[in-house]
Amino acid sequence: MHPAPSVIIFSTISGLGFGLMLFLGLGLPDVNGWVAAVFATVALGLAVIGLLASTFHLGNPKNAIYAFSQWKTSWLSREGIVSILTLGTFFIYATLWAFMDMRIPALGYLASALAMTTVFTTSMIYAQLKSVPRWNTAVTPLLFLLYAAAGGALLSNQMTVALILLGLVFAFQSLAWMQGDTALTRSGSSIETATGLGGLGKVRLLEKPHSGKNYLLQEMVYVVGRKHAAKLRVLSLLLVALLPALLILLTEVNHVIVAVIMLSHIIGLFAQRWLFFAQAEHVVGLYYDAR
């Protein structure tokens, strides 16, 4: 699948924002006044920047308002609705907390739950697609939630929790890649089932329908840069989980170290999300003898 920068930025940055909301909603860290205001602004800022970025890949944004209407069937619609609810709830909670010194735990828990629900709805947009076998697994939502929570723990300075979450990220990301590499084969779809010609023997594409490019190939049969995938996987795990974990364990964590940890985590996260898209094979590629 095409790794559109807008979608990568959206899912990573907003994930971090909603992850931070998870902890702030739980009352962590235990701060108030302007410090709480700064934390809340960072959380809202990241979530809103991410959500705005997601609108950049729309072909016809003037109709985006209708996207809140189909919550009965569409995960994308649910994501839109839940994200607005989350932002609203968290905004009220944070305003009362930071400016009126009135932290309402119940409202905070609600904001935390909504924040994780938003991340879950985002992940289901991908996980629901049978046409992309690599994404069509329960590990997809699990990973999105883990990444968001781990990033939120780092941002909210909950380093012990962060260590556990980074460990889980490491484990489940490795599992996702191992499973993912055989997902298309295991899905049972092949050029033979795609064409229905398997009965005649081994099938191959003799001639493409057109000599140029097309939307399908650009959007769903994206293969550029895949050759670097193995290196990027190692780099991503190193930066997203290992280096932050080592810094937490081996150094006295201060503001400079936290900045280094966040920078490392975010770069690793971009690499991970790029791979998530670039390595996802859509079954339509079978009609083009490509994966």
Binding site: G59, N60, P61, Y66, S74, S131, T195, L200, R204, P209
Partner: protein, 246 residues
């Protein structure tokens, strides 16, 4: 809107005969022509006269080769467009309600006045039947020529999809699969009409007729030529010997 109907009164769709299709691409071109001037936003081309042209098509013709071990290969031309699936995965994912499947005849359509061009329906379709028009920014797909088949202003013989009307080989058939006595239902029963990627669980309405079995796939193969063994004389012989020495 994006909830799929549990059943539809009619199941309108196409039968595509892979035995008969000659791969001329006429269906593709007539589709492009009709749908550029009729229903919804035109099917645009980008850089049409430049070095890197591309464009929106609702129907594309691939050509495949099938070869069994020890047999000669067979060439199969393969037109592909929306299959108007009963369990269309493109419809429920739509966030705006632009995508829908009609209860009366099962046609899957896009309401361009609601489409925001997010492209998720194209991702959900395993067949590559939907393309986001790069100029209009809205999703385009086969309408089964809904603006022809019910159009009383057209002569009766034209009230079929443009691709079917155009096909010079008679490889495309249009009809109602809900009626077991229809032309398409009979063809499917007689010729073993099949679904594409049945494992995706989409229950396509359109069916493909596999190529008829050949009596002898290898029958038309020429025997391999014997290697040239006799001594070559004259100029060619001299050339052969000289080249050998170099």
């Amino acid at each position: 809107m994006t909830q799929l109907p549990t059943s539809t009164e009619k199941k309108l769709g196409l039968v595509i005969d892979l035995d008969t299709c000659v791969g001329c691409h006429a269906c593709e071109i007539s589709c492009k022509g009709w749908n550029t001037v009729e229903y919804g936003a035109p099917l645009s081309d980008m850089d049409a006269y430049g070095g890197d042209p591309s464009g929106t098509f609702l129907n594309r013709v691939h050509t495949f080769e099938a070869k069994a071990e020890g047999c000669a290969s067979q060439t199969v031309h393969f037109p592909k467009s929306c299959l108007h699936c009963e369990d269309a995965p493109c419809v429920p994912v739509c966030p705006t309600g632009a995508s829908y499947k009609r209860e009366e005849d099962g046609i899957v359509l896009v309401n361009e006045d609601k489409c925001m061009g997010c492209g998720l329906c194209a991702w959900a379709c395993p067949y590559g039947a939907r393309e986001l028009d790069q100029m209009a920014g809205v999703m385009k797909k086969c309408t089964l020529c809904v603006d022809r088949i019910y159009n009383d202003n057209l002569p009766e013989e034209d009230r079929i999809p443009s691709c079917v009307r155009t096909c010079p080989a008679g490889a495309r058939h249009f009809g109602d699969f809900a009626d077991p006595e229809s032309n398409v239902s009979k063809l499917v029963a007689e010729r073993g009409g099949m679904d594409l990627m049945p494992e995706q669980g989409t229950k396509p309405v359109n069916k493909y007729l596999p190529p008829r079995p050949k009596a002898d796939v290898n029958g038309t193969q020429m025997p391999a030529l014997e290697a040239q063994s006799e001594e070559i004389t004259g100029f060619l012989g001299w050339l052969d010997r000289t080249l050998e020495k170099i």
